[in-house]
Symmetry: C2
Subunit: 456 residues, 2 copies
């Protein structure tokens, strides 16, 4: 699979400088990304594309080619695969749409391509996809420009997705949420390479520490479970399964030709494979975010610290709903806190520092309960930034105390520009920030779920 | 209740120019807002505060006073209420904390104040609260500055909240989400005026068209149901009940001294009163947003239009989960669409315009299915903005076609700066935009729920 993410040489079929052409956009993106491997444009119309020598056909290239990228109309793809077989090129990303998702004729075209590929040991990602992105080798086959999508920083998350639009949105959201990306693969109709092969590959990928999967259907049920089980022993996997009800199943079929199947079977398979299942796009993003940034807690005893009492109440509700225990502090711990705080602060769990709170109160609460005491396994911290006593210092206070405690924390805060700045600073230090009480509690429960899966 | 939101004259007890003093900040906020009524600072230490004549005591003011604002330490409040009784001032907002939420002594102080107030027909909002905001009269008793919270524009939503931090966060979120605000009341310990009185008042308030309530507990069960029922006949009410499980109930008690009670009883009461219940902060915001911006659909047949197939699949799933029907187009309608679209577009429900979509394709889809056909009651539109064919024109396309259809729509889109700009433009035209498939489907179902409640 390495050749898909870091090919020593790549041929771009149909390459042109035309801004309206898919192969042209793919080539331009690749050049803009600063990919270091050799690039061979292929197009009988040109001698030269973006300053690179252009070849009339694959067969005219005398050098070895590791990978082809094919984004020409569906009916011409088979011929390219035949040339590729002749030249002994073993890997191909087929971007072109117009296959299985279009019905009988498309299925037949796929079958013919598959036959040639099997005979010649050619592995294929696609068709009907964006292909791959490797954030470390700077290789990509995506035809979407980075003008409208923010490119995420380098990081530990790799994304597998049947849907291209979904994969791109996850990249965009990852950039917004401060989540770093290692690799992305979008395989669309998945005529050959799918989740199972890619999971096996990502299990041993040095850059990947968390795997996110968007699934409409699965390539091979049993192989998938085995690959996922082996991968999840080393790295958390978060999955979003779509096509659950009748309307969604029909939509998935039109989308990638996927047979979404019985959702109950997927649920059981995820459980068996140690996969953390997300309910909806936001839970998916929240899960990969918390798992990319924090380590699982040792247990489920959660401390809630806030200067917004109402938020504390809601987080407590959703902790209970998600299997997290909001245990009150012991009389001794209460006494220690009582000595340090103003009388009207609520010394309980949640600790309510009230509208009069300042940054330093958070230091006292976290130092006393998380560092000097063993009564809690993790903290949900809810610093509302509107009172004057709250400043950017909250970032280093949370970082210093939580690091000293060796325990994980998630942050919930809500607000405008100033709050967003604090969120960004916290996420740069790997404290995930969530915009609602319910999502912060759910994210903490997903972190705990990873702990439970690890200990099985 | 008018005197609470638009007092002809108001006395600020303890007024000062000191930036660290609560009464000082409240006075400054009120002056900054440009409130047109008469303001009387009261403080024996000063002759003059912010250029206004300052009085040593309430009793020294010869003019009539409609309302007092009290934000001095708890133990001094009773004396002020006694003076107020003597002068015949009928309304008071008590901001001060340190009462019921602190235990026995605080409860006793509240009881003494209540006794005097009852004998003299004084109505009280508070204590332990931020009091009120009226976005039309520019009156407020809030002690939080607008430097860190964005002030929302004038609009149709009024907010009732036991929690101050929560009320402020909702204002802040409303500003971010393009939701306009009419009134806000935060009553904290709610020793007198609560939801029931305020609902009766908002029912007839000309500026209020949607009511949002954050509840830890209720003031008077039966009165609340009656007031809510009468209000919800005219205007939708969205409620967030917190303090559901044991941990949340305990937290609510520490927070506002509220007895959160049995959640099942609340659920039944909400149903009886025609209240739409939200599960969590985001659903609360989403519900008030969709109800502030769009009219309920006539039925539950939903058209999904997207250029991101995967998003269409997820929305279809969550429509099913929320009781919305994603019915396929009739053969005739399919034929009409087929004639107008490229062959690889998926002409079904969802309509998938694929990564090749441009703005105009949305016009064709919405014009054909929503304006020229009667097969759908509402649309969920998912324009992903990354393809080059997508521009800001999508805003007027959605607006023009949906207006022509007379049917409601919600929009789902995900992305960075450019997408956020499109979101803002859409929300200025009252099309609510949600950042995930699950939330857009849920919001549409809340709009439908309003229709169902209206027809009962």
């Amino acid at each position: 699979m390495h050749a898909f993410f870091n090919p020593s040489s790549v041929a771009i079929i149909g390459a042109t400088e035309k801004a309206s052409s898919l192969p042209g956009i793919i080539l331009k993106n690749l050049l803009d990304m600063g990919f270091a491997g050799k690039i061979y444009p292929v197009n009988p119309k040109y001698k030269n594309v973006f300053g690179l020598e252009c070849f009339a056909s694959l067969l005219d290239i005398s050098d070895e080619i590791a990978l082809t990228v094919i984004a020409i109309p569906a009916s011409f793809v088979l011929e390219i695969i035949k040339q590729q077989a002749q030249k002994g090129i073993q890997y191909s990303v087929i971007i072109s749409a117009g296959f299985r998702e279009m019905g009988a004729e498309g299925i037949q075209m796929e079958d013919e391509i598959r036959k040639v590929a099997r005979e010649s040991n050619i592995r294929i990602i696609g068709p009907n996809c964006l292909g791959v992105l490797d954030n470390y080798t700077n290789f990509t086959t995506s035809f979407l420009s980075w003008e409208r999508i923010t490119k995420p920083k380098k990081g530990v998350l790799s994304i597998l997705s049947q849907s291209g639009a979904f994969a791109i949105s996850v990249l965009d959201l990852a950039a917004q949420e401060g989540i770093g990306i290692a690799k992305m693969a979008n395989y669309g109709n998945r005529m050959d390479v799918g989740e199972s092969d890619l999971l096996a590959f990502l299990r041993d990928d040095v850059h990947t520490e968390v795997v996110a999967i968007y699934m409409e259907s699965v390539d091979h049920g049993r192989r998938f479970i085995e690959a996922a089980k082996a991968c999840s022993r080393k790295k958390p996997i978060v999955a979003l399964k779509v096509g659950k009800g009748a309307a969604g199943i029909a939509a998935a079929k039109s989308h990638t030709g996927a047979i979404a199947g019985n959702y109950a079977i997927y649920k059981a398979a995820f459980l068996k494979a140690g996969i953390i299942e997300a309910n909806g796009l936001e839970e998916f993003i929240d899960g990969i975010k918390v798992l990319s940034m924090q380590n699982p807690p040792e247990g489920n005893r959660i401390l809630i610290v806030t200067n917004g009492g109402g938020f504390g109440v809601i987080v407590a509700d959703y902790c209970t709903e998600n299997g997290l225990e909001v245990v009150p502090p012991s009389p001794q711990l209460k006494e220690k806190l009582r000595e340090k705080f103003a009388q009207f602060y609520v010394v309980n769990n949640p600790i309510d520092l009230t509208g009069s709170a300042c940054d330093e109160d958070y230091r006292v609460a976290l130092q006393t309960c998380m560092v000097e005491s063993d009564e809690y396994d993790a903290a949900i911290i809810i610093p509302l930034m509107s009172p004057k006593g709250m400043s950017e210092k909250i970032v280093s206070i949370i970082d210093n105390t939580m690091k000293a405690s060796g325990k994980p924390a998630v942050v919930c805060t809500v607000g405008g520009t100033f709050t967003m700045k604090v969120k960004q600073l916290l996420e740069e230090r790997h404290y995930p920030v969530f915009p609602s009480p319910e999502r912060s509690a759910k994210a903490m429960s997903m972190l705990l779920q990873r702990k439970v899966l690890q200990s099985h």
